[in-house]
């Protein structure tokens, strides 16, 4: 019986490269081999960029040899969700409408990764245009969970989470609009962080909900998430929503003491609808944090239950506007033999967009339309204020809030895909953080009776990523959940 692969650690890989013990080429070859071997069973990737990655690795190795400074992630392979623009290869957003789209520019996060010397090896699978909760809405097939191939990896960053969980790459980038980093991280047993809104530039992230989207790290360890965040975070003039707030030394922050921190727990989050094993693992995690010296404080978030309704009006309204650009005129798929311009738009979008995307565009269009705007979109914006205020009040009393990430562990492929609303309810714990613009992390905290991973969510006030990372890191020093390797990661 072959041994499970080792848990990769980006920080260690970066050190080994720095001290000349492993080359970028060795790391890259290994990552490519594993991604290619795992692709048929997991479908984590839309494209694996073998040639480009090897060429870049050789370049980095040469630079090092020549004494030219290389960056903090030099020699470390990384995978990137395919809704983030790269100037090489394709950026498909897992959609037919962009199946052959070649971006003319790199996203800001990609520029930063390149400068840091990281090696991009693949663009990973997602729900089309980041709309979904399972990575079943991809035009290129679902991504399977490395813990059970009949189950979903979660979404929408399922490909990135699966690639990391399967130990093919030490870390990856995902994006989070309503939970799309944290949910797949939880279901795949890895760490996923949604930074505060405005912490990471959205320039080059194909927009889903412009007031909700953030790019963030997915890794096996909180330490690696901190390392990746320190590279991608920062102001970018090309994203007018990017905040000019100083970037903390996230690696140094890992060692901040947990002792004395106040952790808020709300009955609304641990109420009904939560799977028993998930509740037990969450409560055990909170007990562990108390052992570390944190103090649990009861809080109330009375508007939390309206989060899904609020989100599915705001995000769909924003999406209907953002996706209007996919019209067959400038790029992407265009329907054949259009009768006139209207026919060009309508048939291009009808044929090129998947059912969930169409559903959401229509919902958003309706919510913004004349006669319904006040009752739906404007109403949702007001409820958003109430949700924000709940968090502001809570953060007067506590430093962090702990909650489950998802009501269940990974469900079966096909189980929820026929009922859109059932799928939406998977976001129930993650969604509020996007509405409020706060930061949130999912950290592995246990397994259910079927051996499926469970995550604990920690939420913090805007720009308090340092606190999330320090608590998460110290939790990982005392627990082993993140070290377990899924059996589907084992390659002959």
């Amino acid at each position: 019986m072959p041994e499970p692969p080792p848990t990769l650690n980006a920080r260690t890989m970066a050190e080994e490269f720095h001290f000349g013990r492993r080359s970028a080429l060795e790391n890259t070859r290994e990552a490519l081999a594993r991604l290619e071997a795992l692709q048929p069973r997991l479908n984590a990737c839309i494209n694996i960029y073998r040639e480009q990655a090897l060429a870049r690795a050789e370049q980095i190795d040469r630079q090092k040899q020549d004494g030219i400074p290389v960056g903090a992630l030099a020699g470390v392979p990384i995978a990137i969700k395919d809704n983030i623009c790269t100037s090489f290869g394709r950026t498909t957003c897992a959609s037919k409408i962009l199946a052959d789209f070649h971006s003319g520019y790199d996203a800001n996060v990609v520029e930063r990764l390149r400068e840091a010397g990281a090696i991009i090896v693949a663009k990973t699978n997602l729900d089309e245009f980041a709309m979904g909760s399972s990575t079943e809405n991809s035009a290129f097939g679902p991504t399977r969970n490395p813990w059970d191939g009949a189950r979903v990896a979660g979404g929408t960053s399922g490909g990135s989470a699966a690639a990391v969980a399967a130990r093919a790459v030490p870390f990856a980038l995902g994006s989070d609009t309503g939970g799309s980093i944290r949910l797949p991280a939880s279901l795949c047993g890895v760490v996923g962080l949604k930074p505060s809104y405005g912490r990471v530039s959205r320039y080059g992230l194909v927009a889903h909900g412009s007031s909700l989207d953030q790019i963030g790290p997915i890794a096996t360890t909180v330490e690696d998430a901190a390392l990746l965040l320190s590279v991608i975070a920062g102001h970018d003039a090309r994203d007018s929503t990017s905040m000019n707030v100083q970037v903390l030394d996230y690696l140094a922050a890992l060692h901040k003491p947990v002792n004395g921190l106040r952790i808020g727990v709300s009955a609304e989050y641990f109420g009904e609808g939560l799977d028993a094993d998930v509740r037990a693992a969450g409560q055990a995690a909170i007990a562990e944090l108390e052992e570390l010296g944190a103090k649990v404080v009861e809080i109330h978030l009375p508007h939390m239950k309206y989060g899904i309704a609020c989100y599915y009006l705001i995000s769909t309204a924003e999406a209907s506007s953002n996706l209007a650009r996919f019209d067959g005129v400038h790029y992407g798929f265009r329907a054949a033999r259009p009768a006139d311009i209207t026919d060009l738009y309508s048939r291009t979008r009808g044929q090129g967009l998947g059912p969930e995307v169409k559903r959401r565009i229509m919902l958003g269009t309706f919510a913004l339309s004349s006669g319904y705007y006040d009752a739906y979109y404007l109403k949702a914006l007001k409820v958003r204020t109430l949700i924000k205020r709940d968090f502001e009040a809570a953060f007067q009393k506590v430093d962090l809030i702990a909650s489950p990430v998802a009501p269940t562990t990974a469900f079966r492929i096909g189980e929820k895909s026929r009922d859109p609303l059932a799928m939406y309810l998977a976001d129930i714990y993650t969604i509020a953080a996007n509405l409020a613009g706060i930061c949130a992390i999912s950290v592995p905290c246990g397994f259910d009776s079927k051996g499926l991973p469970i995550g604990i969510q920690l939420m913090g006030p805007p720009f308090a990523e340092g606190t999330l990372l320090s608590v998460g890191h110290q939790f990982q020093l005392r627990t082993n959940h993140h070290r377990r390797v899924p059996h589907l990661a084992i390659v002959q």
Partner: protein
């Protein structure tokens, strides 16, 4: 509490410029009605004195200096063009359309 009837679905699909089949009209009418029923719970809340939150964080009027900066060449801008004609994207006639 409008049920999203099939006429409304067709109207919305037209606003969104998405061609949908009759089958899709039926399916979306059903699915979207169910979702709208769910989101109607927001009406339980009195928001008469609550301002709308268009942005998660406070930031406004983020401008840059009005200075010309380098941009893309036509080749880059047109590299994915489905139908390129010189430096143009070619599309069916737009003018003389009732409702383009």
């Amino acid at each position: 509490m409008p049920h999203l009837d099939e006429d409304t679905v067709r109207h919305v699909a037209h606003l969104a410029r998405i061609a949908i089949t009759d089958e899709e009209v039926r399916l979306y009418s059903q699915q979207l009605s169910k979702i709208l029923d769910y989101v109607n719970q927001l009406n339980e809340l009195d928001t008469s004195n609550v301002p709308p939150a268009e942005h998660p964080l406070a930031a406004s009027d983020v401008f840059r200096a009005d200075v010309v900066q380098p941009s893309w060449s036509s080749d880059v801008a047109l590299k994915n063009a489905p139908d390129r004609h010189g430096d143009y994207f070619r599309v069916p006639k737009v003018l003389d359309q009732e409702d383009a």
